[in-house]
């Protein structure tokens, strides 16, 4: 915070003498104009150098050809994009599908919880909030591995689904396979839902908490049923939270590969798995770069359409 303190330190404000006032004011105004830029300098520079520059560089990498031994050169070989898309479109589709379903599931599971914390938790509110946030602070990977135990072949979930004969239905729907839940689409979507649920709950909670409780009373006074109150008052007012939550869930989920790797099989690989293996194992950097950009373009397109339809402008 050195710059901030230095900035605030400045010269001590001696009581200004009447004659010198304009000069002092001008100096102060000049300092004020510069202050935000000085404060921003380090943070913005960091992001420009280590976030924006890599993206630009990645864009140039995606149109390079070559090999690791001979080096890569920009040849405007746009066909990399086409080849990548032709070979990996199922992975793209699967990523968007899985993360879409997981986002919907997060909304379905997260909304009641956020609602409960905002309106019904009473003195338990802080306890529940801690329980929602605490998983953030324990390892993502360890918790995902725990799902391997929960969904294991002789585990509680499989035996429960077997007893109520749901496993036959899910197998028929091709979201599980035979007697297994692990290494199936169901497991991956379950893991994604679990891992990104806090990202849904927190924005929902923030926007629900802002709602004035008197609106509920007013709605009740006007003979609305609780459900009508929810549909016409609560839900529309919580829309900014819904939009923020779905974006915060969908975007990271579509790039995730931890869940697909640990809970899925080779048939459930998502686009993140492909990018990672192209980059770290195959060492085909142009393809990895092209895949990244296709993923970003797809997300950007979906998000744009979604925000247009949801019609909220205040996001952050």
């Amino acid at each position: 915070m050195s710059a901030a303190t230095a900035q605030a330190a400045g010269p001590p404000p001696t009581a200004p003498e009447p004659g010198s006032l304009p000069a002092a004011l001008r100096r102060a105004a000049g300092r004020r104009r510069l202050t935000p830029y000085l404060l921003l300098l380090a943070g913005v520079a960091w992001l420009l150098v280590f976030f924006v520059a890599p993206m630009v560089y990645q864009a140039s990498t995606s149109v390079q050809t070559g090999s690791l031994d001979k080096g890569f050169r920009v040849t405007w070989h746009v066909a990399t994009y086409w080849d990548a898309l032709r070979e990996y479109w199922p992975h793209f589709l699967r990523s968007l599908l899985y993360s879409g379903i997981a986002t919907a599931a997060c909304l379905a599971i997260g909304y009641p919880l956020a609602y409960m914390i905002a309106f019904r938790a009473g003195r338990w509110r802080n306890v529940v909030l801690v329980l929602v946030i605490a998983p953030f602070f324990t390892s993502f990977l360890i918790r995902t591995l725990a799902w391997e135990t929960i969904l294991a072949d002789q585990g509680p979930v499989v035996s429960f689904l077997n007893t109520v004969h749901l496993l036959d239905v899910t197998s028929w729907l091709h979201i599980t396979q035979g007697d297994r839940v692990l290494a199936t689409p169901l497991a991956v979507v379950c893991g994604l839902t679990y891992n990104f649920l806090p990202f849904m709950i927190l924005p929902l909670y923030t926007s629900l908490e802002r709602i004035d409780g008197r609106l509920h009373e007013a709605s009740g006074d006007l003979y609305a049923t609780p459900f009508t109150t929810f549909r016409k008052v609560t839900f529309p007012l919580s829309l900014p939270g819904v939009v923020a939550g779905t974006l915060l869930t969908f975007i990271p989920a579509s790039g995730d590969y931890i869940n697909a790797e640990l809970l899925g099989s080779t048939n459930q690989k998502m686009i993140g798995n492909v990018i990672q293996s192209q980059f770290l194992r195959v060492l085909d950097y142009p393809t990895a770069a092209a895949l990244s950009f296709i993923l970003m373009a797809a997300i950007l397109a979906i998000v744009t359409v979604y925000i247009r339809r949801a019609g909220t402008e205040e996001l952050v």
Partner: protein, 268 residues
């Protein structure tokens, strides 16, 4: 006419759904806790065998695990310091000043949070690779500060925006110097936001696998150790660490609330 249990159910359906969702969130943590007391039969700690406190007595009994753990802790401390300092300065500029380029800066802050981690990790990795910078501690640290920064800015900015500017004006009216005003009024008021941002950075940095994997080279952080061990069979000690982290996190949050609560109480 509805029966009483039905009516109760109707009235509390939201609470029930919420409690179920909470159970879903906490369930894996319980599994991690229970299986930290397991003595697995083979290499894989998936099925319950017998109760044992072995892992708790020898938490560092696995080769390389505690080394990766201290590395991750060190990284998280530095990344938190860096991101908090840079992020707080940025947040002050964005929340307190109107200036040219403000909208662009807001966008620049928002983008890293809205970008899939694979994309960020891969592109930073490509840059390092081509600038022939050796992967290791420093490249990981640079990456961690980069992705933690935005979260700090958002947390601190929200706090500053909700602060009453009249408190600072009052300080100035009472002849406080700008330095005094900043140190005794502004900073303490912004502290909860800064603390929240710092805690978030620490958690994000400590826990990150995806971005780290692209920028680590041969350096192994704790999440990378866990990832590597998942194929060979995760040692029980990993569950011990996971449980300890959960307990420490809960204690920290509770302690933070208590301190915050007492402050609020003292003021009123």
């Amino acid at each position: 006419m509805q029966t009483r249990p039905m009516r109760w159910l109707r009235r509390n359906v939201v609470v029930l759904a919420g409690v179920l969702a909470l159970g879903y969130l906490v369930l894996p943590n319980l599994v991690v806790l229970v299986f930290s007391f397991n003595k697995p039969k083979g290499r894989f700690n998936y099925t319950w065998n017998t109760f044992s406190t072995d892992a708790w007595q020898h938490p560092c009994g696995v080769a390389d695990m505690c080394g990766s753990l201290t590395l991750s802790l060190r990284l998280a401390v530095y990344a938190t310091l860096g991101a908090t300092v840079l992020g707080t300065m940025t947040a002050f500029a964005l929340a307190r000043y109107r200036f040219r380029g403000r909208a662009a800066t807001n966008m620049l802050i928002f983008l890293p949070m809205a970008m899939p981690e694979v994309v960020m990790g891969a592109s930073l990795g490509t840059l390092f690779l081509n600038m022939r910078i050796r992967f290791g501690f420093w490249t990981i640290l640079i990456a961690h500060i980069m992705f933690c920064l935005s979260f700090v800015v958002v947390a601190v900015k929200a706090r500053i925006m909700s602060m009453d500017p009249r408190l600072e004006q009052a300080a100035q009216d009472l002849y406080a110097t700008p330095a005094q005003t900043f140190l005794r009024i502004t900073l303490p008021l912004a502290a909860p936001g800064i603390a929240a941002g710092a805690m978030l950075s620490f958690a994000l940095s400590f826990d990150d696998y995806i971005i780290t994997s692209f920028n680590a080279g041969n350096t192994v952080t704790f999440p990378m150790f866990v990832w590597g061990s998942a194929q060979r069979g995760t040692p029980v000690q990993v569950n011990v660490i996971g449980t300890a982290m959960f307990v420490i996190a809960v204690l920290l949050v509770v302690a933070g609330r208590l301190v915050g609560g007492r402050r609020r109480g003292a003021r009123s």
